[in-house]
């Protein structure tokens, strides 16, 4: 029973990260129509920028928390700029194209970012994770060590999700974003600045992806690929929310985190969680799929 509780906490912290990554995907997809396969890669790149500041450029005499703070700020600023850059340099020009074409373009972004990162930071070496909480602060439940980092992740994920929710719910710009995500055509008739909403979505999406990336580093084998591949878990969570609902997406993320963690009680396999994600995707699509060809028949 206690073991179950420990695994639940691990699963929830993983799920929190999935939720964050998925939130960005849904946000960008709803407001700009781009399903961003490069979301994991974007988070990965920003995370490495933070990592660089944390391990490469911070002065050894600084107290740890200053390095951490600087690193996180650097990563987030970079993420926001990258989101804006992608919107203005690429996706603004293909707004009217088919969603599939836009998705393929994000695959180009994925490949370029992934290689650029492995060029700069090397792909196959072990990278020390970024700890937001002291690594030593652990406690054990039924022989399973739980780091304070797990708790930090869960809290941060929930705070961010609620913060984003509050931003969308209570601010004027958040209302505009929700309007655009419901119907871009109607929104432009209402005088909502659709272009600016798209740019802000890319910025916010990239930001939460960076947060997800920074938070996940203590839990995985931290290298360029494994963070890029976070995309599939994020997509699974996003599909649980139907690529529409943010609360369902967050729930989906946590659910997926638990589903991927519990089997590790019995199965020791790095790849098995991917199978869980795929099964979740398939199950969701079967449940949610409309009858027949109703999509094409309008």
């Amino acid at each position: 029973m206690a073991a179950l509780a420990a695994y639940t906490i691990i699963g929830l912290s993983l799920g929190g990260i999935f939720s964050l990554a998925a939130l960005g995907i849904v946000l960008i997809y709803r407001t700009t129509g781009v399903l961003n396969f490069a979301h994991g890669a974007m988070g990965m790149f920003s995370t490495f920028v933070a990592w660089q500041v944390f391990y490469g450029w911070s002065h050894p005499f600084w107290p740890g928390w200053i390095s951490t703070l600087l690193a996180v700020i650097a990563g987030l600023v970079f993420a926001a700029l990258m989101g804006l850059f992608l919107e203005f340099a690429i996706f603004r020009w293909v707004r009217t194209r088919d969603p599939v074409v836009k998705a393929v373009i994000t695959i180009g972004v994925l490949l370029a970012l992934q290689s650029a990162a492995s060029l700069i930071w090397k792909n196959n070496q072990y990278h020390l994770p970024i700890y937001l909480a002291p690594q030593a602060a652990t406690f054990t439940i039924a022989d399973v060590p739980i780091g304070a980092n797990n708790i930090v992740v869960i809290v941060a994920a929930l705070l961010l999700a609620f913060g984003l929710g509050a931003f969308l719910r209570y601010t004027s710009f958040g209302r505009a974003m929700r309007a655009v995500s419901d119907s871009p055509t109607s929104a432009s008739l209402w005088g909502v600045p659709v272009g600016r909403v798209g740019a802000v979505s890319w910025m916010l999406g990239s930001l939460v992806a960076a947060v997800a990336g920074i938070l996940i580093t203590p839990f995985i084998n931290f290298d360029t690929t494994s963070l890029t591949l976070l995309i599939i878990d994020a997509l699974a969570a996003a599909l649980i929310g139907g690529l529409v609902s943010l609360p369902l997406t967050v729930l989906g993320g946590f659910l997926l985190g638990l589903l991927e963690t519990y089997p590790t009680i019995w199965i020791q396999s790095i790849g098995f969680p991917r199978l869980v994600a795929l099964l979740v995707i398939l199950a969701v699509l079967v449940v949610r799929n409309p009858r027949g060809f109703a999509v094409a028949a309008k």
Binding site: S172, R175, A176, R178, A179, S181, D182, S183, T185, S186, A187, S188, L189, W190, G191, V192, P193, V194, V244, R291, G292, F293, A294, A296, A297, K298
Partner: protein
Amino acid sequence: MTMLRVRDMTVRFGGIVALDGISLDLNRGEILGLIGPNGAGKTTLFNCISGVIHPDRGSIFFEGHSLVYAPPHVRARFGIARTFQNLQLWGSMTVEENLVVPMDALGRRNTFSDALYLPFSTYAERASRERARAILHVLELDRHARTLAADLPAGIQRRVEIARALAMRPRLLLLDEPAAGLDAQETARLAELLHAVRQRFHVSMLLVDHDMSLVLRVCDYVYVLDFGKLLARGQPSAIRSDPKVIAAYLGEESKQSTGETTTVVAAPKQAAPLLEVKQVAAGYGGLEVIRDVSLQVRPGEVVACIGANGAGKTTTLRAISGMIHPRRGRVMFAGIEVTGRTAERISKLGLIHIPEGRGLFPRLTVEDTLRLVSNTAGHEVDITPAFQLFPKLRERRRQLVGTLSGGEQQMVAMARAILSRPRLVMIDEMSQGLAPSVVRQLFEIIRVFRDEGIAVLLVEQFVESALDVADRAYVFEHGSIVLSGAAVDLRSDRKLVAGSYLGTAVETPAMAAADGNGHRVDPALMEIVSVRVPAKVKRALEQRAEAEGRPTGAVAIELLEKVDRQ
């Protein structure tokens, strides 16, 4: 002999009942018409018959086979072919190849023998191509046989769709809006074509179209759908005079006394126009929906656009508000040229467009939706005036717009228009799908707009109510304006207006002249004689006129008056 038997067909999409227990019979050799306002469920019924969607309840029998569980390609093999409202030709293939595909698909072909170019495949291919060319010849499409389907204009693509359906050697042909986007002459030619097709290919047809003139001219029997229910059925002539049908299309005749409407004083004529549309053409993709549309709205004036579905009213509004960009012509608003500007910028000049379907955001609450007005106003707006006007919305302020009834949604859209303090509001199909009592209430709001000095451009299917409230009106037909004038004048000419809906509108003068049968031309009768009645009816009229020795027009007038009295 019954060929197609549909029983108790019911389809629900979420909470919306698209089809509600429809039953229908089609006899062999018959052309059956299916009409009804937008959203009546016609295309849904087509999709059920061709197997594109599965009904929640009900059964379909075709020549004695039950089709409920048959996938689309099996139905095609039984002999059911269809065309599509939003053209679904295979654009990257030539017209000829488009015809060969269904022929091959129905035969027994082998993928590997095809890839190897075995004689079996090449001979079969040659035979198919020859048959395809024969069909193209009958439909006068030979010229385009080697053109890529995507490169053809929409009118010809519609003909190719019919040709492709015929290539399956169908026994039943489902035609979904074959006349959409065609002008009056092309529609007339289409009617002839359909008659020719029935004779040459021995097919039965089920025809959906908004163009009532086509349906009433071509069909032997007509079903009328409204809100997914069967409203009426009968011979075309009976349908035309069925008060229920006329009400569904035009709305109830208003009971208001004319005295009240005369109090409506038209806006001063000398005022500079607020909105000026000059010879605008616009469309979608290969389809040009409106051509040469010019209209004006003066400050504080209420102007109605009326005409059948597909006549180009909605497209005109879209071209004005910037949802689509005009291909030719200019749009001036408040003295500024807005042609080609984005909808976002135009809305900030004080032009509000409430599109068909109301253009709301289903996942926002009423309150949030109204607060969005700050985007056009440029500052936070006090939304309480909206609740004073629509007390019902105050109760529902925390509810998601998507969960409101249609009438309440329209109230939200109108409330937003008021809060924005615009100079012009354009409302598209305000009363679509709403109960008459709600519609009356909404028309009252339009009077409020007028009292506030806000100009209104109205697209409306309930012509009577629209003309009651409007100062002036434009009548659209086949993508251009055929008539305009003071609303009071048009109101008194109900026959004429009804014509634009029920397929008896003013014909082009050329065709009217060609119709002369030797009788003395009476200018008063000309208008009536020149109505575009189905060929059959026309022939009947002429026969009767000859028998009685009177002008055809006189007979027509007598009959139409009879219709009017009913």
